[in-house]
């Protein structure tokens, strides 16, 4: 982050007034710090993507296949015939501008092409030229333009500056979802081999090893065993996670990021402690899987087909192991995929049972077809029925706020379950201003596969609205902990916070739960899961 301007400067300098020149006359400038590196051909070949080639976004020549325009046109046409969303969204935008200032990338960068409506117009202009009468007859005056290499580069640059957060779609009078247009646009770019590496390589890893990070089964077990030792040091309890166990009650799937990097690791430890508690107290049998060891799905950021290919492992593994239903960990886009795509793509899951919490008897009616329950729904239900022994005072050093991750917010509507859980395990909770949470929530700035290292300026500017709201509650209430239910958040927020609000740390929900959770037979705890002294235990 060293070559980034200082945060105060970014905030001071960002300009939102539109330029004098019309947007079609401003050529794209692919700027360092704002884009991600091109996909490694090896990763693309692993899944058999078309037109894989070496290229560099900075080069004049992208080594495109000779008939690339034809490929794009055909791809566009096919999708117009397959997705009503794409067709309707291409046709009905009235350019009212209601969405214009709703995008965190526009707010953070001031670049007019980051206004959702213009991001969509980048594609729509070509649509008009290729598929509408007015565009064919009137050309530019009808807002139409021909596809050429500059337009393609512009597409690429701005489609990878959209985190598919759907904030714009909340405010559009017709529900036009620029995320949907980005999903579609990236699918087209993938026809030409133009993915970014931060997406393509995790996808290839996930396909082969079951998770984005490419952790092989034995290493996955090793990593969890390492947490077992840590937990034993802190609580005196051996939590004994189970792997690939046939006949378990529940299969648990969470993003592999939590196995790998702080502070997600503490959330991962939290899951293990919760399952141990439930096993000892109520005999609940939960298994992890090394084959389906990834909740996240970077295929979602590639194409619908890739999403389906990666997602298929969840049901396949649940079926193989013969579990009753699936429990899903804390992740954002994973939950959009599960909530809105999985059953349609890879269902029906008729080999599973309608999910019932065996401890409380609660039927999760809202998951009765997909048969997958969110850990926040599950934990909230347990707490509501008084099934967890909790000591919230162990979190008394924390003043917590909660970030609604984009996908659970606008692709699922999960707002009150996590808040109920936090309020039950922490004594001090403060929401950020209403205009920046729940359905109005702002992206972390790194969603949809953009959390690479090389696009740090994009991430820090895109995360500005979120960070600014955190700063507000930090200054007002002394908030020092940002809780979230998303692994990308846990990977992205530490950077964002240290850039904008260094006094605030980041945690997953289940870490907070586990800190408060009193395991049967545990020793007097002196530290939290991070090894920091508990309140009242400081020397």
């Amino acid at each position: 982050m060293s070559d980034l301007p200082k945060s105060e400067e970014i905030l001071k300098d960002v300009e939102h007034a539109p330029p004098k020149k019309g947007w079609m006359n401003i050529p794209v400038d692919i700027r360092k710090g704002m884009y991600c590196y091109a996909a490694n051909p090896k990763s693309l070949n692993a899944l058999g993507f078309p037109n894989v080639h070496e290229w560099n976004p900075k080069d004049e020549d992208w080594n495109l296949p000779e008939n690339w325009q034809e490929i794009l046109h055909k791809g566009f046409k096919e999708r117009l015939d397959r997705f009503r969303s794409v067709k309707v969204f291409m046709d009905i935008c009235v350019r009212c501008g209601a969405c214009a200032d709703k995008c965190h990338y526009f707010i953070g960068t001031g670049d007019p092409k980051n206004m959702p409506v213009l991001r969509a117009e980048l594609l729509r202009s070509v649509y008009r030229n290729d598929f509408t009468l007015a565009g064919k007859l009137l050309g530019k005056i009808a807002g139409a333009r021909k596809m050429d290499e500059d337009v393609l580069k512009e597409w690429w640059y701005y489609l990878f500056q959209c985190s598919e957060c759907r904030r714009c779609s909340v405010f559009c009078p017709y529900g036009i979802d620029t995320a949907e247009i980005t999903i579609f646009g990236r699918e087209l770019l993938n026809l030409l081999g133009l993915n970014i590496d931060w997406i393509a390589t995790p996808v290839a890893n996930c396909y082969r090893t079951g998770n984005h990070l490419g952790i092989q089964p034995h290493a996955f077990k090793d990593m969890l065993d390492f947490f077992v030792e840590d937990i034993e040091d802190i609580t005196g309890i051996n939590v004994e996670p189970q792997f690939n166990k046939k006949g378990a009650d529940i299969l648990f799937i969470t993003p592999s990021g939590d196995v790998f990097a702080d502070p997600g690791t503490y959330t991962c430890m939290g899951y293990m402690m919760l399952f141990k508690y439930l096993k000892d107290k109520y005999g609940l049998d939960v298994t992890w899987s090394t084959y389906a060891s990834e909740g996240g799905n970077f295929g979602f950021f590639t194409s619908h087909e890739t999403m389906k290919r990666l997602n298929s492992k969840m049901y396949a593994e649940a079926k193989r192991l013969g579990v009753k239903w699936i429990l899903g960990g804390e992740c954002g886009h994973m939950w959009r995929v599960i909530n809105q795509y999985m059953d349609t793509m890879n269902g029906p899951a008729d080999f599973l049972e309608e999910p019932v919490n065996p401890i409380t008897g609660t039927r999760f009616e809202n998951a009765k077809s997909t048969k997958m329950v969110h850990i926040s729904e599950f934990t909230a239900d347990l707490i509501k029925h008084g099934k967890l022994d909790l000591d919230p005072s162990r979190n008394d050093d924390l003043k917590v706020t909660f970030h609604d991750s984009c996908n659970p917010a606008r692709g699922m509507g999960m707002f009150d379950e996590p808040r109920y859980v936090i309020r039950s395990v922490c004594n001090q909770f403060y929401d950020m201003p209403r205009n920046t949470i729940r359905e109005n929530t702002f992206c972390c700035g790194s969603g949809s596969g953009l959390n690479a290292g090389e696009d740090m300026e994009l991430r820090m500017t895109g995360g500005l609205p979120r960070a600014n709201a955190v700063k507000f509650v930090h200054e007002k209430h002394g908030v020092n902990m940002l809780a979230c239910v998303c692994a990308i958040d846990r990977a992205a927020f530490p950077d964002l916070m240290s850039y904008w609000v260094p006094e605030v740390d980041v945690t997953g929900l289940t870490e907070l739960v586990a800190n408060a959770l009193i395991l049967p037979g545990e020793k007097q705890r002196e530290t939290n899961l991070r090894g920091e002294p508990l309140p009242g235990m400081e020397e």
């Binding site: 905030l11 007034a17 539109p18 947007w23 015939d81 397959r82 009503r84 969303s85 067709k87 309707v88 046709d91 009905i92 009235v94 350019r95 209601a98 214009a100 707010i107 409506v117 117009e121 007015a134 009808a142 807002g143 759907r166 909340v170 405010f171 009078p173 017709y174 529900g175 036009i176 082969r208 092989q216 034995h218 077990k221 792997f243 046939k246 084959y291 290919r309 298929s312 492992k313 593994e317 599960i338 809105q340 349609t344 793509m345 809202n366 077809s369 997909t370 997958m372 729904e377 239900d381 917010a409 692709g411 509507g413 999960m414 009150d416 379950e417 205009n435 920046t436 729940r438 109005n440």
Partner: protein, 332 residues
């Protein structure tokens, strides 16, 4: 930028002159009073139907509603029935809020940088402008039904009463006409003067505004200033609806201009963004239930894809798995 609205403005002026000259100079009353309106109506109906059928025939592979409120989950958590509808009836509620009250525009929060704070404030002018414009347009359209039915339907006369309750002497002043003019002017001025809206606007965004402006102005002119002879106009319009078209003597040129501009609007409609009127009903982020985990949605073109099976995975890693004590299906 101004080439965009100048182009649109000039087009409307030209259309105006075309009709004016056509009737005044060339005496083409039949063309502008009968043939073009019929053609425009045909284009409108066929075009509108074509577009809607096209949308309706395009499959909806995934259920992708934007959830704007709390999902229905645990029984003790308050569910947002309108913003995150769980049943078809609730979707009807959401769509009604959207179509009748412009719910999403009502959410508008404009962003402003205030020192080192970012603020997002409620801003309802666009919502208000849109509501005034659309409802005024609706009322004006319904009022015009008096020209196309004999006797005049009760709801038309009823509406006229309400519309004119602010009696300002004679002739009766209809608020809807004024509101339409105000609404369309506001939307046009906003498009020209609000920076971002101007920046994203196309000529095709200005054209319908100027066209509707011209329609409203010619209408108001006829009604209050040139005092067109309404019974004679009705003779013409009734002739059109009963398919016995005839052009009676003594109708001012302005009427033909008005009718021509309306015809242009009708014919232009299906090829333009004005189709948002039909499209809003087809938006999958609004018109679907959010019970996506409770009820399976079927994708009509779902096709099998190559996957990496567990067996292939175990073949890849079997030795390591056995060594680490992980269960395997096949021992070798």
């Amino acid at each position: 930028m101004n080439e965009k609205y100048l182009f649109s403005l000039m087009s409307v002026v030209l259309l105006f002159l075309l009709a004016y000259a056509g009737v005044e100079v060339a005496g083409l009353q039949v063309l502008f009073g009968v043939i073009i309106p019929y053609m425009a109506l045909i284009v409108f109906l066929a075009g509108f139907a074509y577009r809607v059928i096209q949308w309706a025939q395009t499959p909806v592979p995934y259920k992708i509603p934007t959830t704007g409120g709390q999902q229905k989950s645990l029984p003790w958590i308050q569910h947002a029935a309108i913003d995150c509808p769980d049943t078809k009836a609730q979707v009807v509620g959401r769509m009604a809020m959207e179509v009748l009250l412009f719910r999403s525009l009502f959410r508008n929060l404009v962003f402003k940088k205030e020192g080192d704070k970012l603020a997002y404030r409620m801003e309802l002018f666009l919502w208000l402008g849109a509501i005034v414009f659309h409802y005024a347009f609706l009322v004006v359209t319904i009022r015009h039904l008096r020209f196309f039915a004999e006797p005049v339907p009760f709801f038309v006369t009823g509406l006229e009463k309400v519309d004119s309750f602010l009696q300002l002497g004679l002739p009766v002043v209809y608020m809807s006409g004024i509101a339409l003019l105000a609404g369309v002017l506001y939307l046009a001025i906003r498009r020209i003067y609000v920076g971002h809206t101007r920046y994203i606007s196309l000529a095709s965004d200005f054209f319908p505004l100027f066209l509707i402006l011209a329609i409203a102005v010619t209408g108001i002119m006829m009604r209050y200033f040139t005092k067109v002879d309404i019974p004679t106009v009705k003779e013409l319009t009734m002739g059109l609806v009963t398919f016995r078209p005839a052009v009676p003597e003594g109708i001012g040129t302005l009427f033909f201009v008005h009718l021509f501009l309306v015809s242009v609007l009708l014919a232009y409609f299906p090829f333009s963004k004005l189709m948002h009127m039909g499209g809003v009903f087809f938006s999958p982020t609004r018109n679907m239930t959010c019970n996506t985990r409770a009820e399976r949605h079927v994708n009509p073109w779902n096709y099998p894809v190559p996957v990496h099976t567990y067996e292939e995975y175990e073949d890849d890693f079997r030795e390591h798995m056995i060594e680490a004590g992980l269960p395997v299906e096949k021992k070798e």
